[in-house]
């Protein structure tokens, strides 16, 4: 069947199951856009900036497990997508980005809006294509979606020159992606490794499971929980692993590391076995590597063989899909109990609790998260930005369902939250979606409020407004003797008026007793809504492990000590 390259692209996207795309047109991608009316099954959401398109596609992916699609034009359109692509690459999120490109004959001439996006994006994509013939479009799309979703997922970019979009050719849909021998993710463990891993598990007296994003990506929730329950092994979740297990499961210890809960970091420190699943021993988790888990043997399961041995040398490394490997491993595992270890961890939990301040001059971010957790029954999709609010959300939101926590982990992309929440809400209309932002991150991508208002995408936008870049300010407080260089905003916009300008209701909260009411109102509102929580500018996130220190050098909230001393005096 004869089609233009643009028609082939649309037809191929539909065959790949795409129902919605986030994008913004420009000259070099216009033939593709002008073809969209012929393909009504492809819904397009017009964003306000290409970075927003990529984060929206990312949020769509993470919330649904389907591959998100972002579209931009050539030149600046494509370079604006780099941040979102890098974010998805580091966090292993499947995404397909389509960029317009100048006509083939103009490539390399510094034509108007020509950027070498293949070159510019090369270090941050899983793979990329520049389609030079219309007849290649179906194969390229098929391969791109296959690559994005299989193995360790990631973003794939398709650069689409303008005259290839209009070129006519025969549409031939390849039934299977035509990879020769080059791309073959390792999925299954070999029995020898499984036996050795099972032996380590059987011998362990103080084991912990470290569950990362891979558990969520591989849909290995049940498998992790079964392993934990069968062997009575506590589970620690990395930032992106939050949501890998319901928060109140008795074996779920929560997040370790730089701003993780104290008992989780302590558990790693004292453990004699780490069972690391779908995580990559990021420095925010490990602290100083040479002092990490000093007494522990390590089993490392990851879909990416290059992660095994990259940061930490495991005793047993198993390259494979978390779900399949854990199913295979379960056949070798005998039930076990560790009552003393669990009792010890329980004591640590009681002795080193999180401090949640309440009833101050300002609203505290922690009480907002706690309230949000209660009033959404732990079942909202929580999309965070980066910084203090992100850490408090990870520490304090009690998830009653799994896979609902979306956050930019590896890249720490401020500005992720607003468009990613938009993508998540498009993917999951059945869910309440909250975007949690600091006032800094919010202002990086707040233009997508217009997209939400225009399309009635019902995201609840919470701003934790402390008039500063809170986490950076915290570092200045602790490491730079209160020298606040370039972190304090002296004139923020009026976010409630801004909400009004964008066409959605805005609520301001300045007192603790207003929190619940505002959240209830926002939850009840059928469309997008903004809540500006004016929060304490000087509140710090604890515990804290300074960068480059070991997990043992954890700093707890100083108020815990004061409270303990006061308690002793009272007796």
């Amino acid at each position: 069947m004869k089609m233009t390259g643009a028609q082939m692209m649309c037809e191929s996207l539909i065959r790949e199951g795409v129902d919605v795309m986030f994008g913004i047109p420009g000259g070099a991608i216009l033939p593709f856009y002008q073809t969209l009316p012929e393909f009504p099954a492809l819904k397009h959401i017009l964003v306000r900036h290409e970075q927003g398109a990529t984060h929206a596609a990312d949020g769509y992916s993470r919330a649904s497990g389907r591959t998100g699609v972002a579209i931009g034009t050539s030149g600046p359109g494509s370079t604006n997508m780099i941040t979102g692509i890098a974010c998805a690459q580091t966090d292993s999120v499947p995404m397909v980005c389509i960029t317009g490109q100048v006509a083939r004959g103009a490539i390399g001439t510094d034509a108007f809006q020509e950027t070498d996006i293949i070159g510019a994006s090369m270090p941050v994509v899983k793979h990329s294509y520049q389609v030079m013939h219309a007849v290649d479009v179906p194969r390229v799309v098929r391969e791109a979606f296959y690559l994005a979703k299989t193995g360790r997922p990631g973003p794939v970019l398709i650069d689409f020159p303008k005259d290839v979009q209009t070129e006519v050719g025969d549409f031939v849909w390849p039934e299977e992606p035509q990879f020769e021998v080059d791309y073959r993710p390792v999925l299954d463990a070999n029995p020898a490794d499984l036996k050795q891993a099972a032996q380590l598990i059987a011998q362990a007296q103080r084991p912990v499971i470290l569950a990362g994003h891979g558990v969520i990506i591989a849909n290995a929730f049940d498998e992790v929980q079964q392993l934990a329950e069968k062997t009575q092994t506590p589970v620690i979740t990395t930032l992106l692993g939050v949501g890998g297990m319901v928060s109140d499961h008795p074996l779920n210890l929560g997040m370790p590391g730089m701003h993780g809960v104290a008992w989780a970091s302590m558990a790693i420190n004292e453990a004699d076995l780490l069972i690391a699943i779908g995580m990559r021993f990021d420095d925010r988790v490990t602290g100083r590597l040479s002092a990490f888990a000093p007494g522990a043997k390590i089993i490392h399961v990851d879909i990416d063989p290059a992660e095994i041995g990259k940061n930490v040398r495991p005793t047993v490394g198993i390259a494979g899909d978390a779900n399949r490997v854990l199913r295979q491993l379960s056949q070798y595992i005998a039930p076990a109990t560790h009552p003393e270890w669990l009792a010890h961890l329980d004591r640590l939990k009681k002795e080193h609790p999180l401090f949640v301040p309440k009833g101050g001059e300002y609203v505290y971010q922690q009480e907002v998260v706690e309230s949000l957790s209660k009033l959404t029954d732990g079942r909202a999709i929580i999309v965070t930005g980066v910084g203090q609010h992100q850490m408090w959300a990870a520490q304090l939101y009690r998830f009653k369902e799994r896979g609902l926590f979306l956050s930019s982990g590896g890249q720490g992309t401020m500005g992720y939250e607003v468009p990613a929440a938009m993508g998540a809400a498009v993917a999951r209309p059945d869910k309440t979606v909250w975007s949690l932002a600091g006032d800094g991150g919010f202002q990086m991508t707040m233009y997508e409020l217009a997209t939400c208002a225009e399309n009635n995408i019902p995201v609840k936008f919470a701003i934790f407004n402390n008039n500063c870049l809170g986490m950076v300010r915290q570092w200045q407080t602790i490491f730079y003797k209160d020298s606040y260089v370039a972190t304090l905003y002296t004139k923020n916009p009026d976010f409630v008026k801004l909400a009004d300008a964008f066409g959605m209701p805005g609520i301001r909260v300045t007192k603790s007793d207003e929190i619940a009411d505002a959240i209830k109102k926002a939850n009840a509102h059928p469309g997008p809504v903004l809540v500006d929580f004016v929060v304490d500018p000087m509140e710090n996130v604890y515990p804290m492990i300074p960068a480059g220190q070991s997990l043992a050098e954890l700093i707890e909230d100083p108020r815990l000590k004061q409270r303990a001393t006061a308690g002793q005096k009272a007796h």
């Binding site: 293949i118 070159g119 090369m122 270090p123 899983k126 793979h127 520049q130 690559l147 360790r152 990879f179 020769e180 021998v181 080059d182 791309y183 073959r184 390792v186 070999n190 490794d193 490392h300 990416d304 063989p305 290059a306 095994i308 041995g309 990259k310 040398r313 495991p314 005793t315 047993v316 490394g317 198993i318 390259a319």
Partner: protein
Amino acid sequence: MATGSTHTIVAIVHDRPGVLNRIATVIRRRGFNIASLSVGHSERPGLSRITFVVDGDELVADQVTKQLRKLVDVVRIADITGERLVGRELALVKVRAAPQNRAEIIQFVDIFRANIVDASVESLIIEVTGDEDKVTSLISLLQPFGISEVMRSGRLAMVRGMIAGGDSTNVARVMANGSGPTPLVEVDRSGG
């Protein structure tokens, strides 16, 4: 990471635009130190063969191999350092050759089983093939005469053929025949 040890890594890659760029990007981004890299056609059309010599220990070589294997255009890659292999380098050396020195230069060329591939009034171009030590030795012996240009190919490496009763793996065969991952290519899934 300067341990002084080197590893020889051989890759079969698709001969497509941008492949070398992708490989170079991974090497630069991960901070690997490549002592030499040589690329050429393989025995199969559409596939090129690359020999890398990597400075660093086992762990570095392991990461180079694994990170490059993630590239979709890399069909096969293996660290063949531990194998019985043939490693050769080609060098062209242009050396000043005054009449009174010519005989001595020609003697060195003979000893090293090198060839004179160009002669002019002023200079000779010498072609030498061998392992890196041999090439380096000849170059240092020619140094006193005055070397004006040197071009070294970097190492080309190939695993030796099967010996009777032996279990040596013919990497060239298994790497190129597309018969799926082989033990050698899948070495060290444990990362240890």
